[in-house]
Each structure stands twice: as structure tokens, then as C-alpha cells.
Amino acid sequence: MATQMMRNALAGVSIHGISKSFDSAPILNGISLDIRDGEFLTLLGPSGCGKSTLLRIIAGLEQQDCGTIEVAGVKVDRLRPKQRDVAMVFQSYALYPHMTVSENMALPLKMRRLSAWQRLPVIGALLPKTCAVSAEIKTEVVRTAKALGIDHLLAHKPGQLSGGQRQRVAVGRAMVRHPAVFLMDEPLSNLDAKLRVQMRGEIKELHRRLGVTFIYVTHDQTEAMTMSDRIAVMLNGQLAQVASPRQIYACPADRRVAELIGSPKINLLEATARSEGLLTVAGSALAVDNKLDSGSSVTLGIRPESLQPAEWAGLNTLTGRLRYVEHVGADLFAHVDVPGSSEPLVARLPVELASNFQSDQIVHLQIRREQVLLFSADGRRVSEGDARVTPLRSYAQ
């Protein structure tokens, strides 16, 4: 237990109140986050929200305006990048084009284990121990390359490799020196869709095998949902929510998070509270468990799978005109125009019903009312009056 505690203290990352502006434009705004040892944490957010900037600050490549970073329980704000025990995989891979794969992967080890004299081209080879250390480095590079399945490429230059191979080399270069923390900045965004799915699995597997902390940046919600232990959703330079993928999906803290996660996007409908526990939305009545002031307006969030076809109109049932259906193999997505909404409502339906629907017909969709999300006018989620939808805190364990 004590050693476990020690390890936790050693390899976690703590971020406290980090802020950063570029030319007086605030990019990061008081970010605080505790990342546990061995955790796979994903920073998810739209492009330009400051994810890469935060990652560079953690790595020491950028200086924060205020706030502190702790790696392994030690403040690293004054340490240079190489002194922090972190490695980074860049979106562009950032391999050195004039070096072979083997030289690329050996460089971090050479810089750490050989002295400046030993690294000199001719003189270095004559110094004692240079050969032994070089041989040791070589063995480790080959071992890492084998683990990644790139050992046959060691003599190639990066220019001769495919995107997927370069990606592996970049991971290999980060891996050889056994860092306590891996930082990955959208490592899959330059790959084609098929390779992306494959590499997703491989990175996850790598994390499982190494058991070290991963901080993974992406703007792709599927990557975030499939790979992470926890997701930190970043919006406008702030963390909107930090929670497990399941929880982010089921109980988003606010409307923007709900919109960011899930495909197709969550349906948002304006609704008005009528009396305690009753809303009117799109011309229909909906019973909810929340205690809302009568007359207050809220936004109703309904995931496509929270709708099911119904025979008749009634309580908790929306009625609209079917625009079209999308058949995507396993699912059927019905796009339905409902009163009071400019965008069609999207419902996920069982494929067997495909023949039942024609464009322009009137359809009734029943809402699974326990899955409905309510957002107040300021965008925050209205937590339920009763305990059926568990509040955020109790999920964290």
C-alpha cells in the first residue's frame, strides 16, 4: 500500500491554475487538473481551444503566465523540457528528416547517456566506454523497434516511410527513454480513417503494457470515447468537465459538452416549464422529475437513441413530419421536423422498421424520459430532483 502511494505520488501530473495569453489574447484560463499515475487522460476540445498550448506547457516548451505544474509530485515549472520526465508525440511527428529511423530513436538516449565529448564524431569513438554505451543504446533501439513492428525500417530515412510508419517511429522515439508521462498531440489526425482505427487500438494497448500516464490530445470525440480513462473537455481555454467517457456522455455538465460528444449530435429543443414536473416542448407535454419554476424556459437534450417510435401521440411523445431516413447499416436515423425547431430531430430506430417509413408522413416518437437532459438558460445542466440520475460526484469513484 505504501509503495502504491509512492508510485502515485511519483508519476501523476498536477496542473494548478494554469493561464496563458499570446499577445494579450487569453488562450488558457485557470486550468486545474489532477491526472493520476498510469491514467489515460484525454484533452478533448475543438481546434484552437488551446489543447496543444497546454500540452506544451506541461512539457516545458512554453512558459505559463501563472499557475504551476507538478510531475511526480515535484514542481517542474523551473525545469527545462529535458529535465521533466515527459516525452511527446507531435501531430506532425517532427522526425528529423536527415537522420535514419534508428538515429532518430537513438538521439534521446545518446543525449542522456553520452557526454558532450563522447558524442563528437571521431574523438568520441576513441574515448573509453563510448562503444559499450553505444552498443547498449543500439540494443534498446532495436528492442523498442521490434515491439512496434518497425525493426525492418531502422536504416530508412523518415521521408521514405508511410504516414503510419512515421507515426510508429515517433512513438518509438518517445518510448525508448521510458518517460513517466507520455504527451500525445493529435497523433492520429494525419492518418486515413482505417489506419486511425487500427492505431487507436495500438496506442491503447501500448498504454496498457507500459502502465504509465498518458495525456492524449484530440478533437475527435470517438478517439476520446474509445481510448480514455477520463476525458477533460476543454472549451474556450477552460475545462468544462472532467469525467469518464460514460459519464460525460450520460451526464454532461453543460450544453456545449453534450453537443461535443455523441454522433449524431444530441437533439436540443427549447421547452417551457408548465407546472411542477411538466414541460411543454414542440407542442407536446413531457413529464420530468425536476422541480422547475413554472414559466421558466429550459433546453431539452435528447440523444437520438432516447427516442423510440410510438403508435399515437400522447404524454412524452413528440409528433412531427418525417423529412428522410438514413440507413447506415446497423442503424436507421430518422430526421423529423418538429414544431418550434429549425433543425430536424434525429432519432435512432431499429433497422427492421425501415419499410414502415415514407418521407413526409407524420411520425410519433416517444421520449425515454429517464434519459432526457435538461439545460438551464445559462447552459448548465439542471440536476435531477431525485437520485435516479446520479449526481457527478458519486460517479468519480
Binding site: 506544451r56 529535458k82 511527446m88 507531435f90 506532425s92 536527415h98 522515439r173
Partner: protein
């Protein structure tokens, strides 16, 4: 454009290029031609490119023996190599700082480099002359080398090239444990070989051919670079004997022409790379 039009346009283009090309080349061809002729034919009224009586051996032998031409060439090599090496050692880190390191006053510094680029070297001749006098380095290699070790052109060229290298490469290098200077030598410079080559050619050519500055600071033959050597040869030995003089001049420019032809492709790539991006 129709086909005949295309051919016509091509012909016009080639005609212009051929004319300007031959205008530039003519003196060189004339020099080589003269270096092959006996004295009697030099000023003969009939114009021929090749001599009636070959006199090459005599001319070149005199050029190489009567003046210490090999000595001049060796001086040229020493001076040009030292200048180039020092220039790269100073320009590359300076250019790296201007391209990739954020610090207060970076733009102002770069402004100074641009101003340095605009000032012709002759303007600085007098202050530099006095400085050399103060340092007491007249008639040494140092006097030939020292005024040129900081090259605004080199800083500018390298900076443009370094700017086109992604920041992520620099970041990766910092994480891999390279110091800022190691990044310059191990990453930036090897990635900028075309620029290094282009700069080397410009630097070597201009200092190999420089006559103005050596004329001011060097008196003894021991330190004379080729161009100055040829001039003293012309005054002292050759007199009106232009055959050996032209032979000497040919020998002096030959290394430059050969090395330029060998490295032509990189040269053009290096000078245009910064401007394309």
C-alpha cells in the same frame, strides 16, 4: 496559345537568354583563348578563337613558375576556408536565435541585420582599416579574415531557411535533451544543407575574387590571395606579356567554375527555398 505561337515565344526567350549569356561568358572565353596564344598572335587583326601556334604550355609554365601562383592559391584556400568556417559558426546560431527563439528586441535585432545587408563593404573599409591597424594585424592572415567573419547575408539566408523548419522539430529536439547549440549543429544546419551550400559558394567566390581589401592590408607575397597575386604579377613580371597573365587568371578562376558547376543544383535550390514558402 497555338503551337506556332509557343514556338515563337520559346525562340524569343532563348534568343534573349543566349545573348545575355554570351555577353557574360565572352570575357572568360577570350581570357582562355589568349592564354593559349603566343605573344605575336595576341593583337593580330584577324580574330580567331583558337591559336595558329599553340603556346599553352609555355604560357602556363611561366605563370606557374615566375610568380608564386601555387602560394597565392594556397593563401586563397586558407583565407576562404577560415572565413567560411567562422561565418557559419557565427551566422547559424544568430540565425537560429532570430528564427526560433522568442526574446525581447528580436525584431530590432533583425532590423540591424537587414541594415547590415544594405551597407556595402567598401563603406566600412576605413574604420576596419583603422581597427586592423589598432590590433596590429597588418600583413597577416588575420587581417584578411577578421573583417568578414560576421556576414549579414549569411544570417539573413539561414534565418529564412530556419523559419521554414517547423517549430515542432525544435520542440522535439528540446525534449530529446539537445541544448540550443546542439539543435543548431545537429538539427537546423543539417536540415538546411542547400542553404549552407549556396552560402558557401557565394562566400568563397566573393572572397576568392576580392581584390579591394587584400590590396589595403597585405604587402608581402607570403600572404597574398590569388587576385592580388595576379595583379602584382601583371605589374612586376608579365609587363605587357598577356599570355602568361591570362594563363594565371585562368588557373585562379578554374576551381570556382568547377565547383560551381558541380554544385549548381543545390545552389539554386538554396537561394530560392526561402522565397517559395
Amino acid at each position: 496559345m497555338t503551337l506556332p505561337m509557343k514556338i515563337l515565344a520559346g525562340a524569343v526567350r532563348h534568343a534573349i537568354l543566349l545573348t545575355t549569356g554570351s555577353l557574360v561568358l565572352a570575357p572568360f572565353v577570350w581570357m582562355v583563348s589568349l592564354s593559349l596564344k603566343p605573344p605575336a598572335e595576341l593583337f593580330s587583326s584577324s580574330f580567331t578563337l583558337l591559336p595558329q601556334h599553340w603556346f599553352a604550355v609555355e604560357n602556363y609554365a611561366r605563370a606557374l613558375t615566375e610568380a608564386p601562383l601555387p602560394r597565392y592559391m594556397l593563401n586563397g584556400v586558407i583565407v576562404c576556408a577560415a572565413i567560411l568556417l567562422l561565418q557559419i559558426m557565427i551566422c547559424a546560431p544568430a540565425a537560429y536565435a532570430l528564427a526560433k527563439v522568442r526574446f525581447a528586441g528580436r525584431q530590432v535585432m533583425f532590423g540591424f541585420v537587414l541594415i547590415g545587408l544594405l551597407i556595402p563593404h567598401q563603406v566600412l573599409a576605413l574604420p576596419l582599416f583603422i581597427l586592423c591597424y589598432g590590433l596590429g594585424i597588418f600583413n597577416t592572415y588575420a587581417a584578411l579574415i577578421f573583417p568578414f567573419v560576421v556576414s549579414p547575408f549569411g544570417i539573413f539566408l539561414f534565418r529564412q531557411f530556419f523559419m521554414s523548419i517547423p517549430d515542432d522539430i525544435v520542440h522535439a529536439a528540446r525534449l530529446d535533451g539537445l541544448s540550443e547549440l546542439s539543435i543548431v549543429w545537429r538539427i537546423m544546419l543539417p536540415m538546411s544543407l542547400p542553404a549552407v551550400l549556396a552560402f558557401s559558394i557565394v562566400s568563397v567566390v566573393s572572397h576568392w575574387n576580392d581584390l579591394f581589401w587584400p590590396l589595403l592590408v597585405v604587402r608581402s607575397q607570403e600572404f597574398m590571395p590569388p587576385s592580388l597575386g595576379i595583379v602584382t604579377f601583371a605589374n612586376a613580371e608579365a609587363g605587357n606579356d598577356y599570355g602568361p597573365l591570362m594563363a594565371g587568371a585562368t588557373v585562379v578562376v578554374a576551381p570556382l567554375v568547377i565547383s560551381f558547376l558541380a554544385a549548381q543544383r543545390w545552389f539554386i535550390e538554396g537561394l530560392t527555398a526561402g522565397s517559395i514558402k
